[in-house]
């Protein structure tokens, strides 16, 4: 996810399907994981991811290559979608909270493996303990395995501060896993 995506985004502006496919293949999984970590619900992550890509098509004309990278832009669209989601979520009537709780539970289903389920629940607790920034880094670095350079661009952070953050997170995760 480097500036090469600006060129692809330019093609996307002109309605190039192939460019769209490249962008989807590159960003779909990280964005999905990001939402998954943030919402702890597969269904919500799917809905949000779909929403992001539809928004990308709607708003691609507003993207200016001179102002920033496409990776940063699409990531901002994802963040805004998540903000909208939380805003709507807060407005949920009381009766829907049970459903919301169930949604959270289905995130780390152990698929009939109790040991795995326990581990996953521990990770879920760990994610809850993470700050918002740490959650983002966790989804991008641990789950999507993106390089520091790209994550720093997406999150608009310097690489060195990102390394420090990841080092701290590593310690937390190791404590839990080992």
């Amino acid at each position: 996810m480097n500036d090469a995506f600006n060129e692809i985004a330019h093609k996307l502006k002109n309605g190039d399907r192939q460019a769209g496919e490249v962008i989807f293949n590159k960003f779909s999984a990280p964005i999905y994981r990001y939402f998954l970590v943030k919402t702890l619900s597969r269904e919500t992550a799917e809905d949000l991811m779909q929403e992001v890509f539809l928004k990308v098509v709607d708003k691609i004309q507003t993207f200016d290559e001179n102002l920033g990278s496409f990776s940063g832009w699409i990531w901002q669209v994802a963040k805004n979608s998540l903000k909208d989601y939380w805003r709507k979520k807060k407005a949920l009537p009381l009766t829907d909270y049970a459903l919301a709780a169930k949604e959270k539970k289905d995130f780390f289903d152990g698929k009939n493996d109790p040991a795995k389920e326990i581990k996953m629940l521990e990770i879920e607790d760990l994610i809850k303990d993470f700050s918002e920034e740490e959650q983002e880094v966790f989804s991008l670095h641990y789950l999507s395995d993106l390089p520091y350079k790209n994550i720093s661009k997406m999150l608009e952070k310097s690489e060195s501060s990102l390394r420090v953050l990841i080092h701290r997170m590593n310690k937390k995760i190791k404590k839990l896993l080992i």
Binding site: R17, E21, S28, F53, K119, Y142, D145, I178
Partner: protein, 226 residues
Amino acid sequence: MIKFIKDQIKCFQCRVALRKQTRPSDKFLNQCRQLFLDKICPAPIENVRMAKSFGLIYRYGLFSFFGCMFILSGMVVFADMTNVGYGHSLYSFKRFGESVRIKLVPQAGQPSLHQEFAERRLEEMKAIKGNTIPASATEQVKNQNQSILTQNKEVEQLSQQMHQEINLIFSDVEANRIEPARIKIICNDIARILNDDEESLTEIPTKFQQESRNKLNINCAGFLDP
């Protein structure tokens, strides 16, 4: 050191498991991808439809073309084999078949084909001459005159074509393209056709008849039966 390596391996395994666990399902990805791409540009789907319909048209077109060709060639063969008469709806097919046969036959076989066609023209002329015109009603006299004029024109046209066929045979004879053994048969056949033409169809010899007769005398003088 070993503990460190073990920790690293555990970490790695955990990350792999996590990644597997947090992967979006393929079904959802395909669905979402299609939705996204269709929103970008639905044109390719139209193109696919167009290509499909074009393929269909192409197939039907090809099928119709070969069907038409089959029917037309059938008509040509039928018209040629039944030797349909002048004025028949398939007559032009018969003539087309004749021109194709002339083109396809080797040079040695051309004189006999020309002879066959000359005989056909003669038969057609006879058939036209033999057609009696109904003359019962006086008001039809004008139409009858018109019919006679048309008939004469047709006969003249056919006669011209017949003599053209005969001339082609003579040109083959002049160019020594016919075997000596066959010349005698061909010459006698031509003489028979010319006699038939002169006796039954015209009272005054036409220009074509005279030309053909002269050529017959020149080329076939020694081969004709007494």
